[in-house]
């Protein structure tokens, strides 16, 4: 089992604040992804990071993959109420038989106006 631990589990902030969510593992992943899930829906992909040390920006969201490809972070600048949701990190592992996608426990973010 390749575990991904996310922190914090819950985050409640005011509109305009910055925040960082962390995703850590003792295992190396071939790539790491961040998904966002709205109530009543399945998760939807936000970003994929592949190379150790890689940084990707998506408007106010910044994603980083650790140098050793074991951890990642998601930073949101000037959070807005529309950012409210469940954020999930997920790591791809290449096995002898197929590829496995493992998820972290999720961070539930609430941004208050």
């Amino acid at each position: 089992t390749q575990l991904l631990e996310q922190s914090p589990q819950f985050l409640s902030i005011q509109e305009g604040e910055n925040l960082t969510v962390y995703c850590n593992s003792s295992s190396v992943f071939s790539s790491l992804q961040w998904y966002r899930q709205e109530p009543g829906e399945g998760p939807v992909l936000l970003v994929t990071v592949v190379t150790g040390g890689e940084v990707k920006k998506l408007k106010r969201l910044t994603f980083q993959f650790g140098d050793a490809r074991k951890d990642s972070s998601l930073h949101i600048t000037a959070a807005q109420p529309g950012d409210t949701g469940l954020y999930l990190c997920a790591g791809w592992s290449m096995l002898d038989a197929g590829n496995m996608l493992t998820f972290g426990g999720g961070t539930r973010l609430m941004v208050k106006p």
């Binding site: 992804q33 009543g40 992909l45 096995l95 996608l101 493992t102 998820f103 972290g104």
Partner: protein
Amino acid sequence: DVKVTQSSRYLVKRTGEKVFLECVQDMDHENMFWYRQDPGLGLRLIYFSYDVKMKEKGDIPEGYSVSREKKERFSLILESASTNQTSMYLCASSFPQVGGREAFFGQGTRLTVV
């Protein structure tokens, strides 16, 4: 528009029943996955399949089995449903992982076992 369709949004079953959850994708994906989602535990992988008739155990396979007779369809079977299997079940599919492929999810089946 890509689509992963799960047969039911809500399901109520009795303890001991055999339960079938069906998932169909229309993207010709090789990989298909079954997860269960519980509060605070994220998505836990039950089984996955990388080709027709091929299946691999995930992290929590006990009490479940799967079937993949056709590329587009992946079924999750609860052999004898128990109350601790009450959960949200999510199906996903993707192309083989090269550089991290996107997994597409269905809307989930909320199963209650009474």
